[in-house]
Symmetry: C2
Subunit: 366 residues, 2 copies
């Protein structure tokens, strides 16, 4: 037997890959290109860019997005903001696009507001009252936008009338300032969202209030994003990595997909079946309306037709060439959720070297 | 404003819950009852018990399963075994029910075999050769069972003939001993699995080899498990917690479900819709063939019809009584995958006190 192997330096082909399979591999040059291209596109449309960090959850990519010209970042959970700041991300302006409810979260929000410029959302006066109770003694630290349900049927006020009423409620609440309007539009319904927001904005301005920000988002409609005289800011998330769902929508190409999952074939039970060591604990069960659990790069005839926790099943019509021990590269259905499954990420740097990065804000669900 | 709140000691009702929502809550008394009941049942059927720790991923519950009479535990990934041992779990005998492929994993397996009694599986002579190369200089440290595909169409040899050939291949490989047969049967196909295994066992015994262990598993068929003169060992996993999928199969009741997800209502956009702060980052997208993403305890008319990463959408036919700030308790579709999403677990101890436990082997995918 050879001496002890340093598993951090296993030589694979001509490169040193620092993580054993299954792992996620980020091509940083591709991510950087994605960041710059979206930034340039949105700026050319007159839109400020506020990337949603849920896709990468990395301090270093949040910093890269800021360096590219973002006005700030978007997080959903307070713990994500805390993790990024604690990791030293170059972030000074955060939009928390999620209602903060309950004394513990309000207290954490209050602490955050002492560290950075902070804004958040509300879609109900009950949420506004909580925010006001936390910030009444520390005014001018929190801007609150009204979340509008423009067709996604998740959170949000249901009508422009309600948006106006809540905007007034915010403006009249001690400690808070009214920050504007936000929506997460249903994919492909950007026009409907803009119409709702334009009406709400007009209603609010009729009261004498100004609407500093009107924020929309979503990578599916990123390349069609337009101000329409209303939208001022865009919050794209998945664009930094892209994934199989965006390729299937025609929004990105495989070459734009910066995040791949690398897995090893561990079983070849039949000529038309192979089992890899990446299951739902890496790829997740997210289908996003698609058939199969990812694209096996370079093997168009192979489908990942089933996942269990640690097994991915590859099937094909004919005999597969894959052997036990072979590595395969997979474009995941949904990149954001893969980032949440793993503690570390293998990063191919632009100079060809490999680094291992902790996934800063993984698992921050509260 | 009140002074700084210690978020570890938020008082909720009459109990102190140590984690903010969304979190997973384990009722330890229920888990202990599940462990003891399954142990007694399987023992009464003449079956040794080797629980699969994937459901809880906790050193302390692995220890509890051993104390209840298990002969050892089952893990799928080497990293799970490493994490449990490093955490001091009272485990001395582990079956790694997953093919170890590649030099890095073989080296880790070799190190593990110096710490505990270890067995693993192979379904191909290529896997056997790798194991033999790693253990040739350290004989009698690794027993290798032949994995049989008895209908689940995942890993495994395809016929009893192939099982015999591979058993001989193992027995003739330096450093390895033939440990027996194993399968993960398709749910409801235990009889078919037993027939395959009985035939394979007879074929192998005809060669003069003995078959020390014949191992089957799966909670869906746990209460129907039988030796049938062939099976010697059972590997149940989900039984320790149970979940909505097992309730839907009639294998467990809601009262047997030891793991719940506690979430807060953060939005009430319409009378028939509520949004909670647990999405796929807690509950996962696993449907296991069911409709909806979990059971909202005490609200039979409410369905969790959609998850995004941080949002769970609750819908009902009529107006819901839930308000912003209310907590709900959810029985997840699939308990095992929830354990993998969270770093910590809130545990209600049998004496009514609450503790926070790290989830020892979470995220160990390799």
């Amino acid at each position: 037997m050879p001496g002890d192997v340093d598993v951090n330096k296993i030589v694979r082909g001509s490169v040193k890959a620092p993580i054993e399979t299954p792992y996620a591999l980020l091509d940083l040059a591709v991510a950087q290109r994605n960041i710059e291209r979206a930034q340039a596109h949105l700026q050319s449309k007159g839109l400020a860019v506020r990337p949603h960090i849920k896709t990468h959850k990395l301090g270093r990519l949040a910093s890269a997005q800021m360096e590219a010209g973002a006005v700030g970042i978007t997080c959903q959970k307070i713990g994500e903001v805390e993790a990024l700041l604690d990791a030293g991300a170059a972030v000074t302006d955060v939009f928390l696009s999620y209602p903060a409810v309950g004394p513990a979260k309000l207290e954490r929000l209050r602490r955050l507001a002492r560290r950075i410029r902070l804004s958040t959302v509300a879609d109900d006066i009950a949420v506004v009252r909580g925010l006001s109770s936390a910030f009444a003694a520390e005014p001018d630290r929190l801007a609150v936008l009204v979340e509008c349900d423009t067709g996604a049927c998740r959170c949000g006020v249901q009508s422009p009338d309600s948006a106006r009423d809540l905007a007034l409620g915010i403006a009249n609440s001690p400690g808070l300032s009214f920050g504007g309007l936000m929506t997460y539009p249903a994919a492909g319904q950007a026009a409907r969202a803009t119409e709702f927001l334009a009406t709400a904005k007009a209603f609010i301005e009729e009261t004498g209030l100004s609407v500093p920000v009107v924020s929309s988002g979503g990578t599916p409609d990123l390349w069609n994003a337009a101000s329409g005289g209303t939208i001022t800011e865009y919050r794209p998330g998945t664009y930094v990595y892209n994934d199989r769902s965006l390729v299937s929508r025609g929004v990105a190409t495989e070459q734009d997909c910066a995040l791949r999952v690398i897995a090893t074939v561990v079983s070849r039970p039949t000529p038309r079946r192979a089992i890899i060591d990446a299951g739902s604990k890496v790829l997740t069960s997210d289908l996003l309306g698609m058939d199969g659990h990812g694209t096996v790069v370079g093997h168009p005839g192979i489908k990942i037709d089933q996942l269990s926790e640690e097994h991915g099943r590859l099937v094909s019509e004919g005999t597969m060439s894959l052997c036990i021990g072979d590595e395969v590269e997979i474009i995941p259905n949904h990149a954001c959720v893969v980032s949440n499954m793993l503690d570390e990420l293998c990063v191919r740097m632009p100079d060809g070297a490999y680094e291992t990065w902790p996934i800063t804000a993984r698992g921050r669900v509260s």
